[in-house]
Symmetry: C2
């Protein structure tokens, strides 16, 4: 059985560091849900590790892995702990290939709903927005600028499998990403607490029914002004009570679901 | 200057424990934003601690405290660290009185939007929902059953001041809370991934325009079945993509803002 010192475990463990993820183009996905989603994407899983009890309990995953030529290796509890970050990783962890596609490919057959995360540093926030974007039917999520690594363990976990569902793209320059998204025919809406347009007014005016890219900035700093200015509109979620703002995940949920509702209705009519 | 061993610092530090918060009816609010909100609620702040630089930088808060008879005590960096949980608490922490009111009082002049959190254990989730409830215009938030302590430091911080804005109530028995909320004339909607009613359909049917209490369960376990059954409807947020669910904060944001939009429109008409 592999121990924390087995070279393949040592190599996989390095993927907990961003530098090594980027050098290898691989990352770790913990737990049966993530492993299942990863196996559903052909060519994604490179290697599967698990404690014997988990490999046995999730025999359908073990079977799916070996059928497509993925090595499955039993590891000790200590080796599993070395490879995972959660207290209860449920015994399985997969080494996966990076999933992101070039931005142009993500926009080739433009999705009706796209999310651009600009300079978002918190992996939990990024993962939660990924999950919400998936739920709202977004086809692509773009990590732009000095954003968190989408393959960060916390981001992958917070996405609850959605990192495997949507087209992920990365863009070094958020302004260029906005230009390309607009060139693909999408309206670009920047979520901003100081936006001149109220989200409900936008919905009432029927302006959410066309293909849209939502642009979100970091919770701490919001969107850089020049980037917000490059959007077609700067949209604020109305604040009915006394809260000064919403957190990023809540604001994104409200905006993306407002779009989802309008797009869905558009399609039905 | 007070040090970590000064008896009043030692006594305040105990408020990091639930047991001591409940015995004393007090809690801690960190940072200038929370302190400002607490001072805005007469009778809430019992004592203010701060490092000298912070007491000087936030002189308007220091002034507001002493004007209403609240003792302000300079503390060492070590004493501040002993009283706070964040890495950068920005130098201030206030001892506050508990804020919750009896449920009947919170419902006396029934708010048009109420949130009931049933058995929610994660303080970060609870605080985020508090913040979102405030933003959506909810008048009361009820912590029901074996829920997290609303005065938990993480909950207070995640609420970003909203713990001081809405009427907080606690109810030992979630089922009884539902009965009382309904008796106050509110429609009770249970958020559930398995709900028989789609949120968009409910909105389209104009059924969100009347006073509503939203009932949310824990992310891990959802709502107990009997509790969901006691609601007037069990409502699911539509999932357009491949995500299996939304996280609690995102689901709450979508549900509460759907109600806020309908209630707001109702009022305008």
């Amino acid at each position: 059985m592999f121990t924390p010192r087995t070279p393949r475990v040592v190599a996989a463990r390095r993927l907990r560091r961003r530098r090594d993820r980027e050098a290898s183009g691989r990352f770790l996905a913990e737990g049966p849900q993530a492993v299942r989603e990863a196996l559903d994407r052909p060519g994604t899983v490179v290697e599967l590790f698990g404690v014997p009890a988990a490999l046995d309990r999730y025999a359908e995953l073990t079977g799916a892995a070996v059928r497509v030529g993925v090595p499955v290796s039993p590891v000790t509890d200590e080796a599993l702990a070395a490879l995972t970050e959660t207290v209860a990783p449920q015994g399985l962890v997969a080494v996966c290939r990076h999933l992101d596609v070039p931005l142009d490919e993500a926009l080739a057959d433009p999705p009706r709903l796209v999310v651009v995360l600009a300079e978002i540093r918190d992996p939990g926030n990024a993962g939660t927005v990924l999950r919400t974007a998936d739920a709202a039917g977004a086809g692509a999520v773009v990590f732009a600028g000095a954003a968190v690594d989408p393959y960060n363990g916390k981001c992958v976990r917070a996405s609850a499998g959605s990192v495997f569902h949507v087209d992920l793209a990365r863009a070094a320059d958020p302004a260029e990403a906005v230009t390309r998204v607009r060139a693909a025919g999408l309206t670009v809406l920047a979520a901003s607490g100081y936006g001149e347009t109220d989200l409900d007014d936008l919905a009432d005016a029927g302006r959410l029914g066309r293909p849209t890219a939502w642009l979100f900035g970091s919770e701490a700093h919001g969107l850089p002004e020049s980037l917000a200015a490059a959007a077609d509109a700067r949209v604020r979620v109305p604040l009915h009570g006394r809260a000064e703002s919403l957190n990023l995940a809540a604001a994104a949920a409200v905006c993306l679901y407002a779009s989802a509702r309008a797009l869905h209705r558009e399609r039905e009519e």
